[in-house]
């Protein structure tokens, strides 16, 4: 008994002296692209609680989470892969895995982190615990020719789907034996620029730049091959220049419809996910970059490429049109919803802050200073397929 008491006491003391306890479900991070920092934030308090530096070139950086939401894996442009502990607010491990990377993903079982690379083009799998390299799959599409990899997304069974920008293919690599991956290849169309997997993990979509349309692969029946949808959305019309490629990740499937950025047109395309037929187009104020559904699917928030990147349009999915237009700041690069969608955080790169809005009444709730903020990633991504 005495022993037990002293043990309890020791624990209590420890708890007092130790760091403040946090639940990971409240946490997230903001990428500060210019200075190689991340700011760690609490989404309930709507406040930062730590800042970590030394992450290299974070332009276009993205993050995925371990299943427990404790660790973030951050993929930098310079090929850096950094594992951060959000509870201890420190870097656990950092490696340089390639020369030029574009993001990554984490397996269904949380044990494999996969990075997608531009140069040398291909994907690499790492042990999520140690960041030890497990295997690599070069994106060779013709003898000696390697493609930039885009759109990498996790799907069921530790398989990952992605597309080859230069190779015009969708590929699915199976890492169930992580040191001996196997890959299936599907012709997809000209210049896929990004991809997404639907929330159920069934379909992989790759947006095409070199032609109108989106390539679609049914991952439950990959044998049927990739087919093209939305082939005619820009037919006969001259495309507007695209000053920044849209992002499909952060996909928006809401109310049985998918909302996708058109490319070279200032529109959001609406597709019925049962038939994959276009059912509408919603005009917006620029080339959409992110088209993101609030978690309940009632709203779709849209930000834009240069020169319209100060604007944000909000679509009401019931009304099928833009119901709110705002200019919250300069260089709005990314948006992230609170786990259940009552708030949205917007990064305003050229204002050096992150802005927080109420999504019901669009009132501004606060802001957080950050140096050239870009991506915002909350731990609620940990439990979602394709994030």
């Amino acid at each position: 008994m005495r022993l037990l008491l002293s043990l309890v006491f020791a624990l209590l003391l420890n708890a007092c002296a130790g760091p403040q306890l946090r639940g990971t479900g409240d946490l997230g991070l903001i990428i500060e692209r210019a200075s190689g920092h991340v700011t760690l934030v609490n989404t309930t308090a709507r406040q930062p609680y730590a800042r970590i530096g030394g992450l290299g070139d974070l332009s276009h950086a993205s993050a995925v989470y371990s299943r427990d939401g404790r660790y973030a894996f951050i993929f930098g442009r310079d090929g850096g892969l950094t594992k951060i502990d959000l509870l201890e607010a420190k870097i656990v491990k950092r490696i340089i895995q390639s020369g030029n990377a574009i993001g990554g993903s984490i397996s269904q079982d949380g044990r494999i982190v996969v990075a997608q690379n531009y140069t040398p083009g291909g994907i690499k799998a790492f042990d999520a615990d140690t960041l030890e390299l497990l295997s690599e799959v070069p994106a060779e599409f013709a003898p000696g020719q390697f493609s930039k990899v885009v759109g990498l997304a996790d799907t069921g069974g530790n398989r990952f789907a992605y597309a080859l920008f230069d190779g015009g293919e969708i590929r699915v690599t199976n890492f169930s034996d992580p040191r001996k991956p196997t890959t299936q290849k599907f012709p997809a169309g000209s210049q896929p620029y990004d991809g997404l997997v639907t929330p159920d993990g069934r379909y992989f979509l790759a947006g095409l730049f070199g032609e109108d349309g989106v390539a679609l692969l049914d991952l439950w029946q990959p044998k049927t091959g990739a087919r093209k949808i939305l082939e005619n959305y820009g037919r006969g019309q001259e495309k507007l220049p695209v000053f920044k490629m849209p992002h499909l990740r952060g996909w928006s499937v809401a109310q049985g419809k998918a909302y996708l950025p058109a490319i070279g047109r200032h529109e959001v395309l609406v597709v019925d996910v049962a038939t994959w037929k276009e059912v509408g187009r919603i005009p917006v104020r620029g080339q959409p970059v992110f088209v993101m559904a609030r978690p309940d699917g009632r709203q779709i928030w849209v930000n834009f490429a240069f020169p319209d990147n100060a604007k944000v349009d909000v679509i009401d999915t019931l009304a099928g049109q833009v119901v709110h237009r705002m200019e919250p700041g300069k260089g709005i690069l990314h948006m992230e919803f609170a786990p259940r969608g009552e708030h949205v955080w917007l990064s305003a790169r050229d204002d050096n802050k992150v802005l927080i809005y109420n999504t019901e009444n669009f009132a501004k709730l606060g802001e957080i200073p950050a140096e050239s903020p870009s991506g915002i990633f909350f731990t609620s991504r940990a439990t979602r397929i394709g994030f």
Binding site: H60, N100, K148, F165, Y193
Partner: protein, 81 residues
């Protein structure tokens, strides 16, 4: 002042395809070593008019041809931070 705005444009907005450090992304690296052997006029035309059939868009709505030439000149020597 205008030069500062152009530097910001290149680092941030060209950077979305070419990388903020210009080491390449979806678009190729824009470093002195990679551009050295290419004629400056051709590169200026690429920036000003874009390259149809590729993601490289035309920038003529946002700069003069002389400004495009200034950017190319800086890219080929040393691009300001």
């Amino acid at each position: 002042m205008r030069q500062k705005a152009l530097v910001h444009l290149v680092r941030q907005d060209c950077g979305s395809c070419h990388g903020m450090t210009l080491k390449g992304g979806l678009g190729p690296a824009l470093l002195p070593e990679t551009l050295r052997d290419k004629p400056a006029e051709g590169l200026t035309a690429t920036v000003y008019y874009g390259r149809p059939g590729t993601p490289m868009p035309p920038w003529k709505a946002f700069m003069s041809e002389a400004e495009a030439a200034w950017i190319v000149d800086k890219l080929m020597t040393q691009f300001p931070e």
